[in-house]
Symmetry: none
Subunit: 157 residues, 2 copies
Amino acid sequence: MDLFVSLFVNKIDKKGRISLPSLFRSVLSKGSKNEIILYKSLKSQSIEGCDSKRINEIAKRVNSLDFFSEDQDDFATSIFSEIIPTNLDKEGRFLIPESLKTYAGIASEATFIGQGHYFQIWHPKAAIEKQTRSRNRLVKENKSLSNIILEKKQNDK
Amino acid sequence: MDLFVSLFVNKIDKKGRISLPSLFRSVLSKGSKNEIILYKSLKSQSIEGCDSKRINEIAKRVNSLDFFSEDQDDFATSIFSEIIPTNLDKEGRFLIPESLKTYAGIASEATFIGQGHYFQIWHPKAAIEKQTRSRNRLVKENKSLSNIILEKKQNDK
DNA sequence: TGGGATAATATGGGCGTCAATGGGAATTAT
DNA sequence: ATAATTCCCATTGACGCCCATATTATCCCA
């Protein structure tokens, strides 16, 4: 499995360290076994994480925009300046920057939620809510993957 | 990670020195480990910096403009004449030229903003504003990192 | 199949190293 | 000579590295 899946609750110790769930560690690409990228989610009060390979892909896209445009500059800022590369120690732990902890309302514990190619870090209580909310919304609106993909194609036109 | 990423606030000491963030130093190409290029941003009241390798790329792009156009001439002037090569000391610090400090309104502290292949130096307060402004723009346009990737992939087809 | 042996994961804490910062002395420029 | 710049050394706090423990999951064998 090369995707971030499942849900884990881990503790933050006195030094501010927290273990990246073992299953998530095994997803990191060989080249960046002990580096992850953190940033504020644009969709919720949570932290998102991924491995650096993913960032390099994004970098290519952003850099292909017009060199001197303000678009390029704004994109670059909101993406590159918000990215926080972080190293895992030998035990697979890392530090969540203070600013991100504040943003996500995290203190002594955090919940990791697998999201496929990335993962999210939530305050434990908020994580449960998010999980049920997501589920309910899908069921109520009778969405299916194929529906969502179709809708997206409509919008893109 | 071979990109300028993240955000750092550093102090300017009595002698006018400021540390280039360690993470930025590690991005500089082997050949120019203690040289950076500074210049006024064309897009905002900030300073931009990069290593000399990038200047060469910019030169290429400017050259590709019509040789006899005024645009080409203007770009060439505003870019090349305003470039200031600067050396880092053994501790990774450098001096921000007075003219650039004035341009960016910087006095006792400065914020480094990663922009991918280059970085910017802002007055701390202005930096936060720029960051939020850029971020809000992304959110408003309902972009997300993954959207940017997807859109680009569409275009690539 | 039960139950202990073994391994892996999450967690705690000591300590050395490095980055950011400060300041005196040496060096260079004007 | 005076001002500016770089070198060198010192300090401080943060972070990485290492080792220890515990709790859980996995394995092995009688």
